[in-house]
Symmetry: C2
Subunit: 149 residues, 2 copies
DNA sequence: CTTGGCATATCAGTGCCCTTATATTAATAT
DNA sequence: ATATTAATATAAGGGCACTGATATGCCAAG
């Protein structure tokens, strides 16, 4: 019976979905970071620029909700992006507390330069997913996030 | 033609494998951390205890290779585990530079208590993978890591 | 109007992961 | 035997993610 001793044991860590998930995400992050560093971006920074491209003037809190991170985390990323000149933050004209964020010209250039890099990584993943349908795989991964709460 | 404008655009980030991969791993990490904190462990610390259980006396460098992190990262985890009393580190009797690491009794207890928590999370993932075969999914995720270099 | 509740922004601390750099020891080549 | 190379351990610094705490502004209920 080579299928395993029992259902209550995890056997080889490499055989678990959890461990493989961690390795895959780690590899993606490393790959993206090393490719994006040529244009002065990290992976989370690229994601934020993407969000700002479709939703200019978003607040820190709005960006945090969209990226599923805490406002504190997003705050750090925005401070770094502002220091690098990729975004500008200005107080909201009506809501005194809110800081609105927009892409600068430099930020738009960086985003454009980054899109090719990210597209190549995504194509790598879709090829490695074969023979599974990439859309089916993406849907399953989103189910993972939901299933874990 | 609702299937997308062109093959060179990424459309909705949520539709990409890369973004979904990040969300799934983030959810897993959060779930594991919050469940494991009751027994004083983080997710990476649990992984290291697992490795030490099957390979007692491993060195920092060996553990780092096994977990696919840098020796510096593993060093930090081991220092935390030693401070918490879950492992003990002693100089190797023959190799002057090497520090061998072993589980303490407390470490073994923590590992035992953690295994149930981790098993439940893995079962969540396997159910959410349906109708895909969990083993097929795990294999695909390992291909992701390889495909990205 | 004042108070309570909610959203927002930001500071401080912790952990993990990376890169770069330094020092020591082991193994190997000359 | 000495020099080089490889492996190990460790420190320092940066980025990202979390929790907790603090301060401010908005708004609705009393």
């Amino acid at each position: 019976m080579p299928s395993g001793a029992s259902r209550t044991e995890l056997g080889d860590p490499f055989a678990t979905i959890g461990f493989a998930l961690k390795l895959a995400q780690q590899a993606l992050r490393t790959r993206m970071d090393s490719a994006l560093q040529e244009i002065g971006l990290t992976t989370p920074q690229y994601a934020v620029l993407t969000f700002l491209d479709v939703e200019p003037g978003a607040s820190n809190a709005a960006l945090a909700r969209r990226a599923f991170v805490t406002p504190q985390t997003m705050q750090g990323i925005l401070v770094a992006l502002e220091r690098a000149g990729f975004v500008s933050r200005t107080p909201h004209p009506e809501h005194g507390r809110v800081q609105t964020t927009e892409l600068t010209a430099s930020g738009r250039n960086a985003l454009k330069a980054a899109s090719g890099i990210v597209l190549r990584a995504e194509m790598c993943l879709r090829e490695a997913a074969a023979p599974l349908d990439p859309q089916v795989v993406a849907a399953m991964l989103r189910r993972f996030a939901d299933a874990l709460r």
